[in-house]
């Protein structure tokens, strides 16, 4: 029997953008799949929830995802920036920048 990953069922919330961008269900699914596959399932740290903010280029296309990953056992938020192309394919991952 295949072991379930500790983060398999972690809730991923795509936050509404301050600039009023609206995400389709398909876009949301892409964002959630990316966060699950590239961040949650590759981590051994158990998480409680992930909140994702999408940053946009001036032409409105997505540029990066900033994931606030809330740990399950401490009140720690790991902040990870994922640079993406216009179709939400990963270009690079920058772990824990200080969003300050």
């Amino acid at each position: 029997m295949k072991d379930r990953h500790v983060n398999e069922n972690v809730e991923i919330v795509v936050l509404p953008s301050a600039a009023g961008h609206i995400y389709s269900a398909a876009d949301r699914r892409k964002i959630q799949r990316l966060i699950r596959d590239k961040l949650l399932l590759t981590s051994k740290e158990p998480y409680h929830k992930v909140q994702v903010e999408v940053k946009h280029r001036t032409n409105g296309s997505p540029e990066s995802l900033v994931a606030s990953m809330l740990r399950a056992h401490t009140y720690t938020a790991d902040i990870v920036k994922v640079n993406v192309d216009s179709d939400y394919n990963v270009q690079s991952i920058e772990p824990s920048p200080t969003k300050g």
Partner: protein
């Protein structure tokens, strides 16, 4: 000497919308002037801030300004709609406008004016009430504060959002407490992160005379900790390192129940509570005024 109007220096913020993300300085200036001249200066009610959403007609031209006027002494927002022409000249004013609340990004908890609520003394909240110990911690502290005679507002889940936290923190409270996730640059709320960037753009007495306690990991570090002190907090306490879910709330509860009930020094109390309730020493930090909570300076 000419007297200054109570609303003369109120900040007017033009919010981005789905139609327009940014406005040129000239356009923002016209919108801000319309709100100042037609709404703020004719009013005797003191306001804290005004958020403005521009509404557009089908031809893409501006047709109305909806102003969310946040009162200075209560959690009331008076919502006013001003019809305008395409040069932002005001044509008519509809007071107590009730429509389109959903279009206001980051609306505060209480929006449309009704019976004004008294300004709270203290606000405690958690964006993660689904964590039982977080919610229990906030419930407990609210109860202790209320029984000590303070007016308390509790913000849970979706209400623990950026607009409500910013509004509360800039309301010159006596105390503010949050239980939730954090990092060196901010805390995570239900709709985004409240960061050091926001604190560092506040005037130097914005948070005065607040005792602020973020029960969050790593927040007692730069850049967040100095930015909070720079914005005028009386005292700031928080996690220096990662704080455990479960035992950190016990320290939070212990601290508030002691300082609100008895004339004990805040610095010593945090150390004592940590020693009694937390498995490792020196996980929490406290700075600013470490003396007794009362009297409020």
């Amino acid at each position: 000497m000419k007297e200054k109007h109570v609303n003369e220096n109120v900040k007017v913020v033009v919010l981005p919308t789905a139609v327009r993300a940014t406005y040129a300085a000239r356009e923002s200036g016209k919108i801000q002037r319309a709100v100042m001249d037609k709404l703020l200066l004719p009013s005797k009610e003191p306001y804290h801030k005004v958020h403005v959403v521009v509404k557009y007609g089908p031809d893409g031209k501006p047709e109305a300004l909806v102003a969310y006027m946040l009162r200075a002494h209560t959690y009331t927002a008076d919502v006013v709609k001003m019809s305008i022409d395409d040069t932002y000249k005001v044509l008519s004013i509809e007071m107590s406008y009730a429509g389109d609340e959903e279009e206001y990004p980051g609306a505060p908890l209480t929006r449309v004016s009704g019976k004004p609520k008294p300004a709270p003394d203290m606000v405690f909240g958690t964006p993660v009430p689904e964590i039982p110990t977080a919610k229990a911690g906030i419930d407990y502290v609210c109860k202790v504060a209320a029984s000590a005679g303070y007016k308390v507002v509790k913000l849970l889940g979706k209400d623990a959002n950026l607009a409500n936290y910013r509004h509360a923190l800039s309301g010159h409270l006596k105390a503010f407490g949050n239980i939730g996730h954090g990092y060196t640059g901010g805390i995570v709320l239900s709709d985004g992160n409240l960061t050091s960037q926001w604190f560092s753009t506040q005037a130097k007495k914005t948070l005065w005379p607040e005792v602020i306690y973020f029960n969050s990991c790593q927040v007692f570090n730069p850049p967040l900790q100095p930015s909070i002190m720079k914005a005028g907090a009386r005292t700031f306490a928080g996690g220096k390192v990662n704080l455990l879910i479960g035992s950190s709330e016990e320290v939070f509860k212990c601290f508030w129940s002691k300082v609100l009930k008895a004339p004990v020094k805040m610095g010593v109390t945090l150390r004592t509570c940590e020693k009694q309730k937390y498995p490792v020493p020196n996980a929490h930090g406290i700075c600013g005024d470490l003396g007794k909570f009362l009297p409020i300076p």
